[in-house]
């Protein structure tokens, strides 16, 4: 699976890291008014979409209003979760010192808590990207996507499990950090579980009450259409975020790494691993915004704290650097990338073995 990559001398790897560091410094120096204006504009669009969606749903005696309202609400949730929430929580806008855009306190319109996300995603996934046993995002403890993961008969049901997981993606993410597997295997105490469950359940309850009790009740006679609209809007968001996120790390040529790789990892080596563990999506401006610019997964993994709308400009330079150093840069249309993801889901539901040892280090032996 993992294709061979050109090896780099230690000096070349260091120079590669230095070029990316320099690119980072050049970009950080530009951050200012434009970035503030951009994120405020996205927040504004998100707020108007959400209100328009909910108002239209209240008028859903007229069927087109239901469809449009549901769609707008779904889009509002996608914008809130991806271009705003995900990016703000990375601290991309902390430099503004705006308490409403603070990475440590931002809370989003989704079942999972911001705090859990900050831990599983910002720290574990971003630091240990695609390192087996350290990055919980590899199959989310539910799917087998790489031949290096041990096969069990449970994975035969994987095609079905993957669909259910996609539909309920926000709930999967919400309980990810509870590590239920550990608890059922007896490696986590009841007391610890209870303590961790408390904030998780509070957030879940809040989301359920908001979308399935308060807004439907406010709609009076349209209780059911509003409830259904909110439900479908949540599903739209779940399917879209699932698709974008899976395309970011589970396409055909992305690498999986063993734990040993993170020992004494240099900056250049870390950058190299981020690029090999991620894949991009091609598309237009609007498409990039709707993915929260996670279509530039590679740039996001290199520079997770740089305002994401800048990734498009960064991508040209990153790609040029990769070409110079012979580092593979994985990008493609969503249809192509996602079909590779689907193939992984199907293929590795059955027993499979790594074709050969993947290259785990860029250094020439």
């Amino acid at each position: 699976m993992a294709c061979a990559t050109k090896s780099l001398s230690p000096a070349a790897l260091e120079a590669f890291g230095a070029e990316l560091d320099a690119l980072r410094a050049r970009t950080v120096a530009k951050i200012g008014t434009e970035d503030a204006r951009y994120i405020r504009r996205v927040v504004k669009v998100q707020r108007y979409f959400e209100v328009a969606g909910r108002v239209l749903l209240f008028a859903s005696i007229f069927p087109p209003a239901w469809f449009l309202g549901t769609l707008l609400l779904g889009l509002a949730k996608i914008l809130d979760n991806m271009e705003i929430g995900h990016n703000v929580m990375h601290g991309q806008y902390d430099w503004m010192r705006d308490p409403h855009l603070n990475g440590k306190t931002y809370e989003w319109d989704i079942a999972g808590t911001g705090d859990n996300w900050r831990k599983t995603h910002n720290f574990k996934h971003h630091t240990y990207t695609n390192v087996r046993g350290m990055d919980d995002d590899i199959g989310y403890g539910l799917l087998r996507l790489f031949p290096e993961q041990r096969w069990r008969p449970f994975y035969l049901a994987q095609p079905l499990v993957a669909i259910i997981f996609a539909l309920a993606f926000e709930w999967g993410v919400a309980i990810q950090d509870l590590e239920l597997g550990k608890y059922f295997a007896g490696r986590k105490s009841k007391a610890q579980m209870r303590a961790e469950w408390k904030p998780v359940s509070r957030k879940m309850r809040r989301q359920i009450v908001k979308d399935y009790v308060i807004f439907p009740i406010l709609a009076g006679p349209f209780f059911l259409p509003v409830l259904a609209g909110n439900f479908v809007a949540n599903i739209i968001r779940n399917l879209w975020t699932y698709t974008v996120i899976f395309c970011g790390h589970f396409t055909a040529d992305v690498h999986l790494f063993p734990k040993s790789i993170v020992d004494n990892e240099s900056r250049g080596h870390w950058y190299w691993r981020q690029i090999l563990g991620s894949s991009n999506l091609r598309g237009g401006k609007l498409f990039h915004v709707m993915t929260g610019n996670l279509s530039h997964q590679i740039e996001h993994h290199l520079f997770p704290d740089i305002p994401a709308w800048r990734y498009e400009a960064l991508a040209r330079e990153v790609r040029a650097i990769c070409t110079r150093y012979g580092v593979p840069y994985n990008t493609g249309r969503m249809s192509v990338q996602f079909s590779q993801v689907v193939w992984r889901i199907l293929r590795h539901s059955l027993p499979s073995r790594p074709a050969r040892l993947p290259s785990v280090t860029p250094l020439a032996a």
Binding site: D21, R47, M89, M96, K104, R118, D305
Partner: protein, 356 residues
Amino acid sequence: MTSLRRYLQPLVSPPVFDFWASRFNAAASWDRVLAKVVARRAESRDAVTLELRANRHFKGLRAGQHLNVTAEVDGARLTRSYSPSLLSADGRHLSITVREVDGGKLSTQLCRHTAIGDVVELGAAFGDMTWADAAPGARLLLAAGSGITPMISLIRSAVAAGSTLDLDLVYWARRRDELCFVDELRDLATRMPGLRCHFVLTRETGLREGEHEGRPSQELLQRLVPDHAQRQVFACGPDGFVESVRELLETRVSQFHSESFTPKALPAAVTGTVRVELTRSRRTLEVPAGMPLLAALESQGLAPAHGCRMGLCNTCACGKSAGSTQNVVDGSTDAEPTPALRICVNRATSDLILDL
């Protein structure tokens, strides 16, 4: 209203409320103290007075106190302290006078670009350069440069209260056109028999009536306020000024209150140690300046929350209320208070106060 708020609290998301409320009234907010600029005028060659109308969250302040004022410059919020004067009985109409500092980002913004209708955020009032209007005793106010702002607030409040105190103001500036509130002070002096104002210019040629020259000295004070040793003294101005009047007076007068502007901390050497105050754990430590803060704090036996140790996961980010730091990865420096400092990749270049 308060009880209604309590019931609504769990249902309201402050950012969403603020967004929609600000469509109707720019200074409306669920819980933040915002104020709209309602008037502006030049106060001297290099100072501007802004009149502000605060929203209902503003708790007011006493004459002589300071207030943190926050406004946005190039997309980022900056905070500085000013001494406002209250202009209305309900305590929500106030004015600040801002002197444009060379290279000062916020003062330049407020003096040149802030327009009527713009919104600034206000902090809680602080500072104890203040007195109860009824308290007896003669006073001497010493001000230099922007140090006049708490004094004008104290004097306005004394005049408004019909005070019969003996009150002398000695106000230093380099040149005449840098003095603020001259006409107003002269007018106030006619309305309060005990009030006398002395203007001292250090670099002006040709003095007019009521003006004097010279830096703070025993001899000058003796000439202007012969009984100054019996006064309660209030001094405000730049560090150097406050230190020199403190040396002159502290041991000789009945009470000495002072406040000075802290100059920007200069980036210190990479070597040596700095003092880090941790507000939440109530500890103060000496740590090496060259080391990233996370490692430095760990070497002292602390265990701050952290993740990647390379400046990307934001887990270690904590608030910094004072001091300057340098990012060891890209070399950028930051002297502003911030809600999110990544201690794993930043080292101290001055003493710091961290929210840890």
